[in-house]
């Protein structure tokens, strides 16, 4: 798989028995369908990844949309809340988080009281977002 932003081959990170794909250069994360929920230890769907329609044919404001690293379809931008626009695969393969976006989502979820607080995985995720998000 290649990074939707810079086309570099994605590396894989294994923490607490969960695997994530990340870009060693741009520090973005690719989460396959369902991985976000595993990561958060959430019982129900945190972010519905489903049929979104065909995107906008690869063009739009701001140039070409990044393509899904799995199916190569151009991804659909989804505004989750004020200040966070994520790229979702139009057929539900997964979600692309640019650098820092995972941290923004985490902060918002914690604020809304939706994350399981103190698991090894949640602590990992916290440090993951610290190193890749916000700080750099």
């Amino acid at each position: 798989m290649r990074c939707p932003a810079c086309k570099l081959a994605l590396a894989t990170l294994e923490v607490e028995g969960v695997e994530l794909d990340f870009c060693v250069e741009g520090h973005g994360y690719w989460l396959d369908e369902g991985e976000l929920e595993v990561l958060l230890g959430a019982e129900e769907t945190v972010l519905e990844v489903g049929e979104l329609g065909g995107g906008n044919g690869g063009k739009g404001p701001g140039g070409r949309r990044p393509r899904c690293p799995r199916c190569k379809r151009s991804m659909t931008p989804v505004v989750l809340f004020e200040g966070l626009e994520l790229d979702l695969c139009p057929v539900g393969d997964g979600i692309w988080f640019d650098e820092g976006e995972l941290a923004v989502l985490m902060t918002e979820l914690v604020r809304a009281g939706r994350v399981v607080a103190d698991t090894p995985l949640a602590r990992s995720l916290d440090s993951l977002t610290r190193h890749f998000g916000g700080t750099s």
């Binding site: 894989t12 990170l13 294994e14």
Partner: protein, 414 residues
């Protein structure tokens, strides 16, 4: 057990002879229909076609299949736990040599066996299957595949498949030839010939048209009985029928879920080419609800109904001990049919005591990761264990000079 294989060989040999006769008949009539007196040439052509295809699958069939399904090998070093399970089951089944182990990166849970005989056999497993099953369930699925190897289904089903394929090919070519007007020319030149030839033409036409259908149905029916026998073998080898029942249930649920979700149909498709479907543990792309027993037995299916296979295994699991005979008995109770494919001699063989099945055992995710890491190492990935406990896996495409920091603790690799 040996008797089971022996008797099976006789039955199988009979079926192969019958299929050969059908192939010869189709060849003969195809030759005759193309030109009076062309029958013998048609037979030669049909047999040569089958021989060629069979030689191809004998020498390269497994390689082609493994390459087409993008399977890659693992060994005792790269995936010790998975290879260990395969070796355990090979010993339980009494194979002289454990099969090679291949892993397929696919989000469709399935497994298959291929090769020509127990000495040249391979078991391939998708990583989704590893993600789904507990260790006991995985043992059962592998034991099922080893059952196919032990019963020599891998060669036999390839042979039948090649024969059915040759017949279909001949029939198809002939039909097209007629469709494009070949038959009209032929009938003009024979307008003065007698009624006998007209009958011959009619019979030949029917043989060619229905031969392909019959051959396919024979192939599929043989495939379905082989599935039951591999299930019976897996139950005996593992002494744990409920583990296989549970694994099949998970596979069925996963496939039904995948194919009912819109837009995901491509993902639910088979991890192997259509020609190899008989080799899989469950038939691919089950339609939603196909697991229900109310559905017709499916003459055109390579696999028996999943619900039936599960129910038979559950009945065995409820007994303190069981034998092949008990499997045949349960088969009769569940399907309402006689297990005629089970040779009566095998039914008297000794019973094994049933092991208890732990349904709450978690999926063997550690085993899956180990196997996938093994695949990655084989594909030139670099694996780095960061002191913070995270493991970073770098694909071959990433140049080695690039500095990579652990996303969790920020430490830079090497």
């Amino acid at each position: 057990m040996f008797e089971l294989i022996h008797r099976n060989r006789r039955r199988s040999a009979l079926l192969v002879v019958a299929m050969t006769l059908l192939l010869v008949a189709v060849g003969f009539f195809a030759g005759e229909l193309l030109g009076s007196g062309g029958g013998p040439l048609g037979i030669v052509f049909a047999l040569a076609l089958m021989g060629g295809l069979f030689a191809l699958s004998w020498f390269a069939g497994d390689k082609v299949l493994l390459a087409a399904s993008k399977a890659r090998p693992v060994d005792g070093e790269s995936a010790p736990q998975l290879v260990n399970v395969v070796e355990e089951m090979s010993i339980a089944a009494g194979l002289s040599k454990p099969p090679a182990v291949y892993v397929i990166e696919s989000n469709v849970p399935n497994a298959f066996a291929t090769g020509r005989d127990p000495e040249h056999a391979t078991v391939a497993i998708t990583d989704r299957l590893l993600a789904l099953l507990s260790r006991e369930e995985l043992q059962a699925v592998i034991a099922h595949e080893i059952g196919h190897i032990k019963h020599r289904d891998i060669l036999y089903m390839t042979l039948l498949s090649v024969m059915a394929g040759s017949i279909a090919l001949l029939s198809d070519v002939l039909m097209r030839w007629f469709w494009w007007g070949g038959g009209r020319r032929r009938s003009r030149t024979s307008s003065d010939s007698g009624q006998g030839e007209l009958v011959l033409l009619l019979v030949g036409f029917l043989v060619v048209v229905f031969g392909a259908l019959v051959a396919r149905l024979v192939y599929l029916a043989a495939s379905r009985t082989r599935e039951y026998m591999a299930d019976a073998g897996a139950a005996v080898f593992t002494r744990n029928p409920l583990a296989l029942a549970s694994a099949l249930e998970k596979l069925g649920a996963e496939q039904a879920g995948a194919s009912s979700e819109q837009g995901k149909t491509a993902r639910a498709s088979s991890p192997v080419p259509p020609s190899a479907r008989a080799m899989l543990i469950v038939s691919p792309a089950l339609k939603a609800g196909a697991g229900k027993r109310s559905q017709s037995p499916g003459l055109f299916s390579t696999h028996p109904p999943l619900a039936e296979r599960i129910e038979i295994l559950r009945q065995l699991g409820g007994q303190p001990n069981f034998s092949y005979g008990d499997y045949a008995g349960a088969f009769k109770r569940v399907s309402g049919k006689r297990a005629s494919f089970f040779p009566s001699d095998a039914l008297g063989e000794g019973a094994v005591s049933t092991m208890s099945f732990n349904a709450d055992e978690p999926a063997a995710t550690e085993l899956r990761r180990e196997a996938l890491d093994g695949l990655r190492r084989g594909a030139g990935w670099r694996l780095w264990d960061c002191p913070c406990g995270a493991r970073i896996k770098l694909p071959m495409e990433l140049d080695r000079e690039r500095a990579v920091a652990c996303p969790r603790c920020g430490q830079v690799a090497e």
